[in-house]
Symmetry: C2
Subunit: 181 residues, 2 copies
């Protein structure tokens, strides 16, 4: 990503928060994380994140998704005795999110649309639709991915401590830490 | 408290959430915790809580405060090795909150108003004013209390696991678990 992409994404995500009635400080807007997972298609794969708190015990974030923006499939494995994998809850604050986890039944007509050619990187298909007020808790090490609906979405994430560097992504091309030219 | 008080408090708090753009499900509204700390003066001492998630590792809630409603002074002590006391972050979503913690300087003209006769139950006076987008993180075992401003307030609480039964309150008359006639 170049710096201009990051700047525009932050501005757009902050505007979505304002529309949703979610107050951010100027410092939070300026420090917002913009991730494209190293895939270079941020409108398709990516998210924008405001980290509210992140300690050795707990973590809370706001995740902003542009229309149809997708967080690719991944899981949070066991790290050590004090962190047996990240346990996370997604709560929809605004918009609509299609969350996919393992388990039957797979969605017959999934609401999410996977980019042509990337089908192999999406292996779990049990669909959970999250609208404002809906939430879902994932135990550690659960494969999952999600995509916003046509208006985009905002999710609160409440979790145990987050160690992104340990995440396992189904698409081997993914690089979680953003690289800005 | 009688059941009617609880019902009215839930209705009023849910209406505040709607005004603030915070979506709750009907089940969340129906299960909302209404606490008066056993003091029988819910307009003065109390809060309304929607627990989003509460596991052995993490906890997230929405705390709704009516105008000038006060959460009395307390702390979250060491419980055991796996829970060295609750660590919590309060993030203001709507309204204004006056949070008091220990440490200099004490507020010369505090914004909160303590009910006459209860002065001895408020011993920490370093003032933190939280407006929408502002937040404050408390380490375990820190004495603290807070009061909403004249319009009321909504706070998100992000924390490690919560064990209310271990909390230590400065006012010995307080009973944390609500009793409903």
């Amino acid at each position: 990503m170049n710096a201009e992409t990051v700047k525009l994404a932050r501005k757009r995500a902050a505007e979505m928060c304002r529309r949703a009635g979610i107050a951010l400080t100027p410092a939070e807007e300026a420090a917002m994380e913009v991730a494209d997972f190293g895939l270079g298609k941020i409108d398709r794969y990516g998210f924008e994140i405001v980290v509210y708190v992140h300690t050795a015990r707990t973590c809370a974030k706001e995740i902003i998704l542009f229309p149809r923006q997708t967080c690719p499939e991944h899981r949070h494995p066991f790290v050590e005795a004090s962190n047996p994998g990240k346990e996370e809850t997604f709560r929809c604050r605004w918009g609509e999110v299609y969350l996919y986890v393992s388990g039957p039944p797979p969605a017959a007509n999934p609401k999410a649309v996977v980019p042509l050619g990337d089908e192999n990187f999406f292996t779990v298909w049990h669909e959970v639709v999250l609208r404002p007020g809906d939430q879902f808790t994932l135990p550690p090490d659960s494969l999952h991915w999600f995509q916003a609906g046509d208006e985009g979405a905002i999710l609160s994430e409440f979790s145990s401590t987050s160690t992104d560097e340990n995440d396992v992504w189904t698409n081997p091309a993914i690089r979680r830490a953003p690289v800005i030219d």
